[in-house]
Subunit: 247 residues, 6 copies
């Protein structure tokens, strides 16, 4: 079984972190393809970046399906382009936010997400509401740029730690969800440090993808996820006409 | 006062209908610029089309602001790219779905949206929930392609009519919201035919845009609508780097 | 187009402030009739005052419609008697709370209302919930009597300012809604002082009323807003029998 | 213990029915004062009637408290003027809708209210939501004028019966709530006829009032139910100035 | 009329406190049978104790019905086994949490429950949500073991007092609900001390039980509360086979 | 990795079906222990059976943990005793309802559960609400006894089929969730028959359990799932005192 883990941020070093986290939990028989999108923002920080990461993401989703991936994962915590990807693909597509929230819901009644930038907090709160977790999940932002997580000089990890401490003290959180794919390598250390479950969405999405494939389940195609109607696409988007995507 | 009414569908005939509807209700001193996006799908029918209409829309939003528009309207009922556009622009940006729902909320306690394709129903329902109208608004689909509304041979308008009749009979609807920019020319006739308020989102958005401008209000820039952080954009999206958008 | 802006508080100086705010944003062709109710409490502070302001308000609503107003505005932030007025009148009737919340929803995802008395906070929270804004709007009270806003000796405006500051610091508010018609003259100054959008409901309601009239829309008369059934009214209320109201 | 059961409809024959229903369930030591309001509409059918019944109701609430009633009941299913009455009075005030819903919540998970006029359905639905029962309670209207319930020639009771039958068949209702004080005499017969619990709000409110008095509980006066601030009342409402009400 | 007040905690001294509180508010003609469960945990503190208290509770529910009780009360604030008891019994069964919340809803718009252990807070919050009070009720835990309430040496009552003070200061609570049957004797003193309504669920449940009996109402048997289907029960649970319960 | 799949129904033939379904999707390295509870009802049909199945279930949960299971699954669709089991155990515990809903949420926006008895419908609806799926999931009952699923003479499977057909036609369901552990063998056939995803909770729970174990996650022990406080247990429940359970 091959699972495509697509990083819609165009930063390859971040993809390496994501791929490692994915492989750490994957079944022995699962092959993880960690893929960096080649068009869009270097990092996704808020609505504007998110919107412009979607075309690049969809290119990779289509390519992964054509190359035989059994499932695809969108490795950005705002679940970038998830609905469009599900409409396009026949294989299951999983967002790391939805996977992280679902996994955490089995081990804690209340929990907190700690994400990066303040501007990402509302979008994540919208996801939390959409996924039915609004009554039990608080969203916090450590106010750190996404790529600072990779910079050993920055204080990003310290800020993340102090936000986790605040969540455990003030939110009645029983567990912590890491709110950025770029934090995927930190889950184990933070779990040890804070003695509470710390959930990384990349790992959660890999296991969820394996689960759907094992059960033979894929996206229902009856309503809003029906295959896109073919039509003319204009200008720089011409290549995205459904029939041109080849899936 | 100039208001840019941007059609994210790349079909110019549809834009003409939209422009006419906008001008019909605009103040005498308001100039309506009806603009057709030049990149993206010919019509927006579901999540996939919607996602790929956003870059073209954002190009027009930025251009409109630079050319002095006082406000911008997104003339597609799924409020395509609204959050990204609000983050990008300094001028107010209004979606026709949100404007239509708000206007209708002042004249009816329960109402129904009639949109085009079944696959657009769930996305519109998500908007209805987001805008706080879930308890009072039903969404129906007439199961007609968007562009069939322009085709005098099609039975699109008959299906729309029969769905309106069903809403009035079965949903306890007191008013009808037309769930597609391509229906903007039909509001008056349908109002006469059914003797209930029939609300077109293009008209509603124009009046809402005029209102915000008259009150001197524009998008709050404190949180998720803060101006995008400048950064490298890769591949075909290079031109969308925030600093390259010129607003 | 004439719009009746009815102050259900019987204090004429407050009506003058309201009328000025209304005229400041009205279209050149709109005539604002600022009207003081002649029966009821000098100021509306809580449920009891609100209930007893309604008959006086309804008298003015009926009179305004008979005298040719195109729309009526209820200039008190608890949207006093809105449902009864909508049932009675054929012209559109707008409350300043609902108008302020709707306008703010187009420019901010989260915002705070600052009202006057603590006892008005729960009634305004009920309105916020009714209008579908409960997840995004916090209500605060500055703990000031309504009429103290007009008293240059009082510290009312200072308390209002400090509550706005608290909202911006603690509520994640991106914009402020002024929760009393008597604050209508303060919006511009406060906007400059705090550098965030500050929304006055009187202005918002005027623009909303103009919008509905321009679109040819008025209250749907199919359900709870159907014209009252005529019947005997007893005692001091005799003159309110529907047929006696003349609309 | 004396309990004032106030009929805000000014129709004395209806009050007689209400008084009988109240006495049927009251404790032997409870005295029921069944009181007809002397100002306002002959029957309350929708928002307009409801608003204009409030002043007359408040007069009787104040009088009852001054004359030593231990609690007051508002005998109209839209809980007419409940908030204003609670702010005014020191004794507990109970609405028959809230009492009926609470009682039914102890014996059924899902239930249906059957009220009179279609125009009362939305107001009752708002109450159902306010009282936290929205997920388990359906509201139906039998489309009958309130006073037709007293007319043996009318088909009102047949329409009520057929709406109850529909509720049991289509709403998954386990119990029925009678949605009008004028139906108070029908509960027992309908219970026998349909073999399900049928709840009358007048009876429920009497027992709830006795309960609060026995427990020594009355309205909390800390927030929106704080005693009204005294002030000038103008015009025909002069006598309603809080200090003039004598409670 | 005999009402069985069943303490599902197996601690007789606690039952004595409960019985006293019940008799204090009961009608003169009501006989209170205060019953201690003979199987299960000495005190119910959290989900595990709650689950294992249910069989013992059901034994007493069945016995009470067979011995002629007109209604049964479950005297533990997590409403232990309420749904199972309602399915089993023909007489009305009332939980003290649901009764306390309902009574308080008639006298306050916002209120706080103060319960014992932190681990009971989430279960009580689930009840608050189920009973439709989530928007108006805050749950606090004084972090005291249930049985420490009986120990004059412990600081349990001081902690309870300081949590009540915090609720009045920080939760906008207008009234307090005591969140444990073991606090039933404290309501009057705390009411005097804090000058707000303090509601004890045991008392509230007794009055509610009397009310239902007076109205001739009992559990609807149409859906999830239908009498259990008889069947084989195995092992130590053999005696709980529905036909063996004798009701 | 050993996973204990515990059937809280005491019917061994049903456990065999469950064990087969579990093994069909488990990883090669996972050992499935399918365990029949030895105390409680032969089948769980409604609240009463559910409550009395819990002690037997908890015995097996404790035993499984002591014998080295890495996770436990409760194989009954009402997620019998889930909260108590999570408080007791250190290993993750998964309910088949929660697992099925979570899995389905990744492949469909709207879906329907088809359960067995009408009396189980409300309990399942409560779970659906608790798990945050209320807006997107409809619950239906085929009105069949649980054990009739095993009886080739019964029409149980036909009724199940016709309820699925109704869900696809009337609920806008995109996928079907089988609402009983006893249906676990039917998922594949029904998927083929109806050409939509059909989800079995036993399979979903196995994959979810494997996922949590692979990620090193288990129940957070900070709040309501904290280990039970040790104390005296009385009567037939003596052996359930936390310290006697040996975990």
């Amino acid at each position: 079984m091959r699972i495509a883990v697509i990083n819609p941020n165009t930063t390859a070093s971040m993809t390496a972190t994501i791929g490692d986290a994915a492989r750490r939990v994957a079944n022995p028989s699962t092959v993880i393809d960690a893929i960096t999108s080649s068009m869009g923002p270097a990092s996704i920080e808020g609505y504007y970046d998110e919107a412009l990461a979607v075309p690049g993401l969809l290119v990779e989703i289509a390519r992964a399906e054509k190359q035989g991936a059994a499932a695809a994962i969108i490795a950005c915590f705002d679940d970038t382009g998830l609905d469009a990807a599900r409409a396009l693909a026949s294989i299951p597509v999983i967002g790391i936010c939805e996977a992280a929230l679902a996994a955490t819901s089995f081990i804690a009644q209340r929990f907190s997400v700690v994400t990066t930038m303040e501007r990402s907090r509302l979008p994540v709160e919208h996801l939390v509401r959409r996924y039915g977790m609004a009554g039990r999940c608080t969203v916090r932002a450590a106010d750190i740029p996404v790529l600072s997580l990779e910079d050993p000089q920055s204080n990003a990890r310290d800020r993340l730690r102090s936000e986790i401490a605040a969540a455990l003290k003030d939110d009645r959180a029983e567990a912590i969800v890491l709110g950025c794919a770029g934090m995927a390598d930190l889950a184990l250390d933070l779990r040890r440090e804070f003695s509470v479950p710390v959930v990384d969405g990349v790992a959660a999405a890999v296991k969820q993808a394996e689960a759907l494939v094992a059960m033979g389940l894929s996206t229902a195609k009856r309503s809003a996820y029906a295959r896109p109607v073919d039509k003319r696409y204009d200008g720089a988007m011409e290549a995205f006409a459904p029939s041109a995507m080849g899936v």
